[in-house]
């Protein structure tokens, strides 16, 4: 599946990635750097419907609107970030609402263009990295190999591979009692056995659930996009990780951030998440 540079690509980052605006921003910059013209789309208005899958009428309406919006954009390719979105597009959305585009994963796009990326990765990233992998989705799109191939181009980075965990990302483990904690403990054990100091996440939910491990263990947690950006010398901050690991997330977010979220929404929906304790 070749990436079409001229036709334009819609980078469909999903909904829960809004916690990590810098990942959307940096991914767009990576795509631009390798010559792929892309627009980004996500949030509730571009939902795959899976958050509401307990009601087919609601989820199907959301999914149909998203496919219709992508068709209207005229992009011939949609590059996903979220594996749930990707699978939903292939399994339910496109079969129900004919799509005028092909669906591929953003790691495939960047991996196909890796030789254009290589000269940009000039800065040494001295880290012994363990790539956090899952079994699911990789059988559909080889994301584990694609990300490993990108990380191997980073000077100074030593790559080790975590034995894949069940599930397609940590979010799915979180729905089964005890499974996410066990997955995180297995991750830490694998890092200790390999002497890794940095955990590299692939998906947003693994990052969201993993960043708190920095509070309780002497490791760093970074996403693969963060590591590529460091190697390119691009400035960024992982605000979500900073907030999640702060002793007082409310103070760390600050008045401006709380006002942006909305006082009531911050109190009820954001702060409780930022105060969640690490599972292990």
């Amino acid at each position: 599946m070749a990436v079409s540079d001229q036709a334009g690509v819609t980078f469909w980052y999903g909904c829960n990635m809004t916690r990590h605006g810098e990942l959307v921003r940096l991914t767009m910059r990576l795509l631009q750097a390798v010559g792929v013209s892309a627009d980004a789309s996500g949030g509730p208005a571009a939902c795959c419907g899976s958050p509401k899958e307990a009601d087919a009428r609601i989820s199907a309406g959301m999914a149909a609107r998203t496919v219709q919006a992508f068709n209207a954009r005229g992009s011939r390719q949609v590059a996903t970030w979220c594996p749930s979105c990707h699978m939903n597009m292939q399994d339910f959305m496109a079969p129900a609402t004919p799509a005028n585009f092909e669906t591929l994963h953003v790691t495939q796009v960047l991996h196909q263009h890796r030789e254009a990326l290589r000269p940009l990765l000039r800065h040494t990233v001295p880290a012994r990295v363990m790539l956090h992998r899952h079994l699911g989705f990789d059988s559909r799109v080889p994301v584990n190999d694609c990300v490993a191939g990108l990380l191997e181009m980073i000077p100074g980075l030593e790559l080790t591979l975590q034995p894949p965990l069940p599930g397609h990302m940590c979010w799915s483990l979180g729905n089964v009692p005890g499974a996410l904690a066990r997955g995180q403990q297995e991750t830490l054990d694998a890092m200790a056995a390999a002497g890794a100091d940095t955990l590299c996440t692939i998906f947003h939910s693994c990052h969201r659930e993993g960043v708190g491990l920095e509070r309780t263990h002497p490791i760093r947690v970074k996403n693969w996009v963060h590591l590529l950006a460091e190697a390119a010398g691009w400035d960024f901050t992982d605000d979500y990780k900073t907030w999640r690991n702060a002793a007082d997330p409310r103070a760390e977010v600050g008045a401006g951030g709380i006002a942006a979220a909305g006082d009531v929404v911050f109190d009820r929906l954001v702060e409780p998440e930022l105060r969640k304790a690490p599972l292990v």
Partner: protein
Amino acid sequence: MTGGEGPLQPGLAQVQRILSESARLAALCTACGECVKACPMPAFALLPAAEPAIVAAGMRAVLSGAPASPEGLAFVAACTRSGQCNAACPERLDVAFMLRLAGMRAKGATGEAPLVAVKSDPGWASRVKAFARMTMTEEEQSKWL
């Protein structure tokens, strides 16, 4: 429903697809249990031990809308989309898709009474948009949301 004179509303079409695909795949499943043996979740999540063929038959029952066994429901609820079941199926069925459909039916997606507890997150959209306002510039929000 449009009375057969036009396309179905997306929701109704989705319900019909879930029901028709569920019935088609349930009819093809032999409940041999190979998918259960290949699944990493029973051991990982410490599900109660049960004969794989009995668990698979329970999953097939959920899929077909028949009375569900506790073993079948537990297997469906523990699916994390690892996908190891597909390669194990001697009938080459898309078992991962079957489990997704069974999960939807168990949650009551087609309008039937739910068979499992359904987690709802009524603040999901508000939370997603709040984080967007916290992590994206106004220009990014106008272009990317």
